[in-house]
C-alpha cells in the first residue's frame, strides 16, 4: 500500500501545483501555531502568576495586615468565604437548574422549550457587574425581612446569627451567585438529559411508569456523571466570580459561620478586586499569590469535571 503512494509523490504531475505544497505547509504551520499558542497561554497564566506571586507566600507578618500573621492565616478565611458563598449558591441553583433542564428536555412541548432555553441563555448574557449592581442596590434591601425571619425562627442554628440591617450578607451574595451559575448548570444537564436513549424511555413508559418514574429510572441513571460534572462546573464558576461578591459584600476577616452578617470573610476574587488599588508592591505580591491559589483551585475543579464528562462519554461510546 505504501509503495504506490510514495511513487506518485516522487513524480509530481503538471496539475499538482508545487505552490500548493508550500501554501499547505505555511497554513498548517499557522494552524498548529494557534493551537500551541493556547497551550502556551494557559502555561503562561501559571508561570507569570508564579513569578509575580512567589514572594507573596513568605512576606513579613505586617504585610498580611492586622488579621493574619502568615500567608496561610491570610488566605484561609478568604477560602472559607469563597466556599461559603459558592456552596449557598450551589444549594439554591442545583435543584432549580435540574428542574429547568427537565422542563426543556422532557416536560415542555417544543414550541415552549425553545423560548425557555433562550430565556435561560439571556441570564448568562447579563454582565456580572449588572448582577452586582442589582444585588447591592435592590435585592439586598428586599431580602432584609427574609434575614430577620431566618434569624427569628432558625436562630438556634449558628449559621443564622444576628442579621445585618442592610441585607448585604454572604446569603445575599450566594443568592446572586446562584442566579449567575444557573445557566451553565442548566445548559450542560439539559444536554445530557436529552441524550437519554429514546428506547429506554419508551420501554419504561410501556411498562406503565408515570413520567416522573420514567425520568427516575432512565434519565437520571443515564445522566448521573453529566449531572455531577455540571454541578462541578457551576462550582468552578462560583468560586471565581468576582463582581457580584465584591459589590454585595464588604471586606471582613472575622471567622464566623454567620451567613447573615456583613463581617463574614469575603472571597479570594472579591478581596483582590477590593485591595489591588493600594498598589503597594508587597501587598500586590500577596494578592497575586492568592490569585494563584484560586487559579489552581478552579483548575482542579474544572479538570475533575471535564474528566468525569470525558470518562462517561468514552463509556457510552463503547
Amino acid at each position: 500500500m505504501t509503495a504506490p503512494t510514495a511513487e506518485i509523490e516522487e513524480q509530481p504531475n503538471d496539475w499538482a501545483s508545487v505552490r500548493g505544497g508550500v501554501g499547505d505547509r505555511i497554513f498548517s504551520g499557522l494552524a498548529l501555531a494557534a493551537g500551541l499558542t493556547i497551550m502556551a497561554a494557559l502555561a503562561g497564566v501559571f508561570i507569570f502568576l508564579a513569578i509575580k506571586g512567589a514572594t507573596g507566600f513568605s512576606k513579613s507578618s505586617d504585610v498580611y495586615g492586622p488579621h493574619a500573621e502568615s500567608f496561610l492565616g491570610y488566605v484561609f478565611p478568604l477560602l472559607v468565604g469563597t466556599f461559603t458563598a459558592s456552596i449557598i449558591a450551589l444549594i439554591i441553583a442545583v435543584p432549580l437548574a435540574f428542574g429547568i433542564a427537565l422542563v426543556i428536555s422532557h416536560y415542555a412541548p417544543r414550541w415552549v422549550a425553545t423560548p425557555v432555553a433562550y430565556v435561560i441563555d439571556l441570564l448568562a448574557a447579563v454582565p456580572s457587574v449588572v448582577y452586582g449592581l442589582w444585588g447591592a442596590f435592590y435585592l439586598a434591601k428586599k431580602l432584609v425581612p427574609m434575614h430577620e425571619w431566618l434569624h427569628e425562627h432558625l436562630g438556634f442554628i449558628p449559621l443564622f446569627g444576628e442579621p445585618n440591617v442592610s441585607g448585604r450578607s454572604p446569603l445575599t451574595a450566594g443568592i446572586v451567585l446562584a442566579i449567575m451559575i444557573l445557566p451553565i448548570i442548566t445548559a450542560i444537564s439539559r444536554e445530557v438529559f436529552s441524550r437519554t436513549p429514546r428506547l429506554h424511555e419508551e420501554a419504561a413508559l410501556a411498562l406503565g411508569a408515570t413520567r416522573w418514574e420514567m425520568i427516575r429510572m432512565t434519565v437520571f441513571p443515564y445522566a448521573r456523571s453529566g449531572m455531577v460534572s455540571a454541578v462541578m462546573l457551576g462550582l468552578g464558576r462560583a468560586l471565581g466570580e468576582t463582581m457580584a461578591v465584591t459589590m454585595v459584600l464588604s471586606v471582613g476577616f472575622d471567622m464566623s459561620w454567620n451567613v447573615l452578617a456583613t463581617a463574614s470573610p469575603t472571597s479570594i476574587a472579591a478581596n483582590i478586586a477590593l485591595k489591588y488599588k493600594e498598589r503597594s508592591a508587597d501587598l500586590l505580591n500577596v494578592l497575586v499569590a492568592t490569585g494563584l491559589v484560586l487559579f489552581l483551585l478552579t483548575f482542579l475543579v474544572n479538570f475533575a469535571a471535564r474528566w468525569i464528562i470525558g470518562r462517561s462519554e468514552r463509556r457510552m461510546a463503547r
Binding site: G35, L49, L133, E213, M243, V288, F295
Partner: protein
C-alpha cells in the same frame, strides 16, 4: 402457591375484579386546580395580603391541592408524578423572577437617565457646570473589546482549524481540546492578574493600558471562539472537502475557499456571542486597564475606563447621582449585549448555507 388447586379455582373469580383502566383525574384537572388556586390568591389579595405573598401562597396551594386530589383518586404513584411535574415547572417560574426583576429594574432606573449629553460627554469637566456622561466609557469598552476580538479571533479560528482539519484526534489535538475546555473555567479575575503580572513584569509596576485589558479578555474569549468554530467545522460535510481534493485543490485552499465559507454563519455567530460574553467583564479590566475621567483613544498608553468598570466605580461611591449614572450605564451595557446577541442570531440566519 402451596395449594395450586385452590388458587386455580379462585383465580378466575379474582381476575374478574381487576379493572382494565386506572381511575384518572379529569383531563383538565390541572386547569381546574389552577383556577381554584388563582381564586384563592385573588381572595388573599382582597384580604390585604401583599401581591408577592399572595402569588407564592396561591402557587403553594396549587402544588398541594393537585397531588392530594390525585392521591385520593389515582393513588400514590400518580400523586408523586403530579407533585414532581408541578415542582419542575415551578423551578422555571422561580428562575424567571430574578431575570424579570433585574431587567425591569435596569430599564426603570436606567432609561430615564439616557439623553444626548449622557452619551456624548465624559466625566472630565473643563467647566464647572459641564454635564457628565459616559462617552469615555463607551469608547473604552468598544476599543478594549475590539482589541480582544482582534487577538482571539485569528488564534481561536486557526486553532479550531488545526483541531478539525489537521489534528484529526491525535494526542496533541486531544490535549488542546481538553485544555480549551478547562480554559473556559478560568476565573476572570485570574485572567486579569495574568495580564497584570505579564505587563508589569515587562513595563514596570505602574503600567496600565487598554491593550492589557484586551489581552486579559482575549484569554477569556479564545476558548469560546475555539469551541464554536470547532463545532461548525465538524458540521461541514466531508463530501465538500473530497470534491475539492478530487479537483486537485490543495488542502489549505480547500479550507480557506470551501470549508470556512460554508461554516461562516456559525463561526460569526460564535464570535459575536463570545464578544457579548466578554464585553461585560469587569474584574480583569479593573486590574490592568484602570479607570480615568478622560476619553482615551490610545489603547497602548494610559488608563481606559470601560462601562463595567464605570458602573463598579459609581457603585463604590454610592451617593444618589452616582447610582443614577450606574443604572444608566448598566442600561447601555445591557443594550449593547442584547444587540450583539440579536445580531448573532441574524448573522447566523443570513450566512447559513443555502439548502437545496
Amino acid at each position: 402457591m402451596n395449594h395450586p388447586a385452590t388458587t386455580l379455582e379462585q383465580a378466575p373469580a379474582e381476575r374478574m375484579h381487576i379493572p382494565l383502566t386506572h381511575p384518572r383525574l379529569p383531563q383538565r384537572a390541572e386547569w381546574i386546580v389552577a383556577g381554584i388556586a388563582a381564586a384563592f390568591g385573588a381572595l388573599l389579595l382582597v384580604l390585604g395580603v401583599p401581591t408577592v405573598g399572595a402569588a407564592i401562597l396561591a402557587g403553594i396551594a396549587f402544588l398541594v391541592v393537585l397531588p392530594v386530589w390525585s392521591l385520593a383518586v389515582e393513588g400514590r404513584r400518580g400523586a408523586t408524578d403530579r407533585l414532581m411535574t408541578g415542582l419542575i415547572w415551578t423551578t422555571f417560574v422561580v428562575a424567571i423572577v430574578p431575570l424579570a426583576s433585574l431587567l425591569w429594574r435596569v430599564i426603570d432606573q436606567g432609561a430615564g437617565r439616557i439623553d444626548g449629553t449622557f452619551l456624548s460627554y465624559s466625566f472630565f469637566k473643563t467647566q464647572i457646570d459641564q454635564p457628565v456622561g459616559i462617552y469615555h466609557a463607551i469608547i473604552g469598552t468598544l476599543l478594549v473589546t475590539l482589541g480582544a476580538a482582534l487577538i482571539s479571533v485569528p488564534v481561536g479560528v486557526m486553532a479550531a482549524v488545526y483541531l478539525v482539519e489537521y489534528g484529526k484526534k491525535n494526542k496533541l489535538a486531544k490535549a488542546i481540546t481538553f485544555l480549551v475546555d478547562v480554559m473556559t473555567g478560568i476565573p476572570s479575575i485570574v485572567a486579569g492578574l495574568f495580564a497584570f503580572a505579564l505587563f508589569t513584569l515587562i513595563f514596570g509596576p505602574a503600567y496600565v493600558s487598554g491593550f492589557g485589558g484586551s489581552v486579559a479578555l482575549a484569554l477569556l474569549m479564545i476558548p469560546i471562539v475555539v469551541r464554536a468554530t470547532e463545532e461548525m467545522l465538524m458540521l461541514v460535510p466531508d463530501e465538500l472537502r473530497e470534491a475539492a481534493y478530487a479537483l486537485g485543490t490543495p488542502k489549505w485552499k480547500t479550507i480557506v475557499r470551501i470549508v470556512l465559507p460554508t461554516a461562516l454563519g456559525g463561526i460569526l455567530t460564535g464570535i459575536t456571542l463570545a464578544t457579548s460574553r466578554v464585553i461585560g467583564e469587569t474584574a480583569p479590566l479593573l486590574l490592568i486597564a484602570g479607570a480615568t475621567d478622560r476619553t482615551n483613544m490610545n489603547p497602548f498608553d494610559g488608563a481606559m475606563t470601560t462601562l463595567p468598570v464605570l458602573i463598579y466605580g459609581q457603585n463604590l461611591r454610592g451617593d444618589a447621582p452616582a447610582e443614577a449614572i450606574a443604572w444608566g450605564a448598566a442600561f447601555i451595557l445591557i443594550l449593547i449585549v442584547m444587540v450583539l446577541n440579536l445580531a448573532a442570531r441574524i448573522v447566523g440566519k443570513i450566512f447559513a448555507p443555502k439548502k437545496g
